[in-house]
């Protein structure tokens, strides 16, 4: 997280390491479950790190992350050798990912001499540029946010409350994400048939509270302690607020085209 969220993130690292310890024993059912949870948490952010920090195109980034998981985490059980004395797990993971990507791209370039894609062309070597977690944290915050939104949308649809999602999307999400004006009130009423402005406002409030509740449940899937959940929610908000405002979305599928 950014500087403002550092304290809480350090606290969360204890949770990360506990998950890592379990995941390292992925030959057991419990270990496999922990590994799946760990990958679900970090793969999107690893992908984002390669795409946005290292400027590697989407398909190649996907291949590299899959290769890293397969070759390093599964085949060589990287997690069993991760040294918690060396700091936050996410930074160790990114350093290992960078080295893997550097090696993989260099090998690929040697095999295809005519191919222009290389680590040197696309990125700075890991040793020349210390891994920073800003992009990772931003991507992570967005991924958590997007997952909460996807679940909120599904929840509204399953409950036959398209109006809740609709007013939330039209008045809050699209203005924030697409920098467009909120759907005019009159169109909102025409689209969803609210009988009064109070009904419309109540629908928005209900949707927002639902989103907040679901967001908390998403965070609770990787952080168990209540006080740490509060800290993580605060960190997610700070990361989004200070992310600079320009990120490619990880929330595809949330908004209809």
């Amino acid at each position: 997280m950014g500087e403002t969220g550092r304290h809480s993130s350090e606290a969360n690292s204890a949770t990360d390491w506990s998950m890592v310890d379990h995941a390292a024993h992925f030959d057991s059912p419990e270990g496999r479950e922990a590994l799946n949870a760990l990958l679900a948490r970090y793969v999107p952010a690893m992908r984002a790190h390669l795409r946005f920090k290292r400027r590697i195109d989407q398909d190649l980034a996907e291949d590299l992350v899959q290769g890293f998981v397969s070759d390093k985490i599964l085949a060589r059980n990287l997690l069993a050798y991760a040294d918690r004395k060396r700091g936050r797990f996410r930074n160790l993971l990114l350093t290992a990912l960078d080295r893997y990507a550097y090696s993989a791209l260099r090998s690929r370039a040697h095999k295809q001499a005519s191919q222009t894609t290389s680590w040197d062309d696309a990125v700075q070597p890991a040793s020349a540029e210390p891994v920073t977690s800003d992009v990772f944290d931003e991507a992570w915050a967005l991924e958590v946010w997007a997952e909460a939104l996807r679940r909120t949308k599904s929840h509204c649809a399953a409950g036959g409350r398209a109006d809740l999602w609709g007013v939330f999307e039209a008045r809050a999400l699209r203005p924030a994400i697409e920098d467009r004006a909120p759907l005019p009130y009159t169109e909102l009423v025409e689209r969803y048939g609210f009988l009064s402005p109070v009904q419309a406002a109540n629908a928005f409030n209900t949707a927002k509270q639902l989103f907040q509740r679901i967001l908390k449940s998403v965070v609770a899937e990787y952080i168990k302690e209540d006080d740490e959940i509060v800290g993580e929610l605060s960190d997610l908000k700070r990361v989004l607020a200070f992310s600079g405002g320009t990120l490619r979305t990880l929330g595809e599928g949330v908004l209809d085209s």
Partner: protein, 159 residues
């Protein structure tokens, strides 16, 4: 969907907070449409007898807000319901915009003055006059409400 969306990240972050004062739902340009819609809504859309003042039991909730405020044949119970509802809305952030709720509030006081010759507010004359003047200065209220405010001012002067 475009893969390169621009995030207004601060606005996005507001969605995390239940009580974020910056998370304003309605914009001022929409107040006219919102007021019109509220005036045309029936009382029972937003007011439920169990949660209202005692006199609400006798109030005809099927009337619209406009009928209650602008019809000389309205009932005091209905006017009091609108006053209580609008006062509640003025104190809640997620509901009617404050200004729209305040219009309904002063209009209800004015309706009681004009149609019933009753004072249903403990506000003193100066405060009421200030409220009606504020209401009359709003560009987005319609003529019946404006006329009600004018008559309310005249009634205050006469007392």
């Amino acid at each position: 969907m475009d893969d390169s969306l621009q995030f207004d990240s601060r606005r996005l972050a507001h969605l995390f907070d239940a009580d974020d004062p910056e998370a304003v739902l309605w914009q001022q340009e929409e107040f006219e449409a919102i007021l019109q819609h509220q005036l045309d809504a029936r009382l029972d859309t937003d007011i439920h007898p169990g949660a209202s003042v005692t006199s609400s039991r006798a109030a005809p909730l099927r009337q619209t807000f406009r009928e209650v405020l602008c019809n000389p044949q309205t009932s005091l119970a209905s006017i009091e319901l609108v006053k209580k509802f609008s006062k509640e809305q003025m104190s809640t952030r997620l509901g009617l915009p404050y200004d729209v709720a305040a219009v309904l509030y002063y209009a209800s006081i004015g309706a009681a003055l004009v149609h019933m010759n009753k004072r249903i507010s403990s506000l003193d004359e100066t405060s009421l006059r200030t409220g009606f003047d504020w209401l009359l200065a709003l560009p987005w209220i319609d003529e019946p409400i404006r006329e009600l405010a004018r008559q309310s001012v005249a009634r205050l002067k006469a007392t």
